[in-house]
């Protein structure tokens, strides 16, 4: 008697799982034509094969910013640049003292101000993690059409 109850529960829950999968799939189909998620139309239970990793070009032409205040893109590869509490390889060239020697773009003076607005004698700790805002640009076309236009003064 107990066994049959157990069997009943098992089959019921199995049915429920199957049904819920069906519901999820149905939901998914209904979404077709809408903006796609990163998963695209891959069913939940399938694994999507990831797209090929894109190579960062060794060097690109320094791109103009698209809007005022945009963190400039990094025009070179940054493979192996570990920004840690011990060392910051970006600042080894881009710090104010080093930049002229290496003909590198010096960091903005705004980076010397901490979040309370105080001017510091050196880079503010809150600006220490360069790659939080500055990223290298891959040669990748936009995933969806982008209608954004930079302001007149920044147009190339």
């Amino acid at each position: 008697m107990q066994r049959s109850t157990f069997n009943g529960i098992t089959s019921l829950s199995a049915l429920f799982v199957l049904l819920s999968i069906g519901v999820v799939r149905a939901d998914y189909d209904a979404m077709e034509g809408e903006p796609e998620s990163l998963r695209g139309n891959t069913p939940l239970l399938d694994e999507k094969s990831p797209p090929r990793l894109k190579d960062f070009p060794k060097e690109i032409k320094k791109p103009l910013p698209n809007y005022v205040g945009q963190p400039p893109l990094i025009p070179h590869s940054i493979r192996g640049y570990d920004i840690t509490a011990n060392s910051n390889p970006c600042l080894a060239c881009h710090s104010l003292e080093n930049a002229p020697k290496f003909k590198a773009t010096p960091i903005g003076v705004s980076h010397f101000r901490d979040r309370d607005g105080h001017m510091l004698p050196d880079v503010s700790p809150s600006r220490y993690n360069c790659t939080q805002c500055h990223v290298p640009q891959k040669n990748a076309p936009p995933l969806i059409e982008n209608l954004f236009k930079p302001v007149k003064s920044l147009q190339q």
Partner: protein, 211 residues
Amino acid sequence: MSIRNRIPRWCLHYWTRLTQPVALALWIILAFGFIAGVSFWSGFNTMLEQTATEDFCTSCHGMTENLREIKPTIHYTNRSGVQATCSDCHLPHNFTNEIIRKVQASKEVFGAIAGTIDTRQKFQDYRLHMAKREWQRMKENDSQECRNCHKMESMDYTLQSSQAAYMHRTYLATGQATCIDCHKGIAHRLPDMENVPQWSPPSSGAVKKKG
């Protein structure tokens, strides 16, 4: 009466044997010498080679950390599969210096036994000391271990990024700097760079980890 006649005949015979060995004996001695020489030299060489392999270097607990660090770097993993391992950078390729370094390395055996860097924390604490020693060594021999593979004369500056070409043209080619002056921490994580010229992180100190 000469002295010769007073010595017993068997003594003379034996003396002749000693002073004029038969030709065969000479060849046997030569052959033994040759075999001994070859086996000694190949044994010595094998020993030198075996103690310069990556497996040997990282067989001590202290060096496993290092191996993990070099793996994602370009000297270990790259598109063409050419690899530089421990001994390519840390062991001089020229024979005399190689032997000197090998003898120095016997000190590191004591380190391994005493467990100087056998935990990650100990390794981190000792990293600056070790790094400084290697930087100093590289600076003194004009980054010879880099130049074993990277020949400045064979560098095509036009294929380098404009920044790299500028740096190599201005500082390397004129002898103002050697490889290690800029290329620090290319194979391992960097130690605390606070007092290293050009590298000093913000002096405000807030980013520095405490203790």
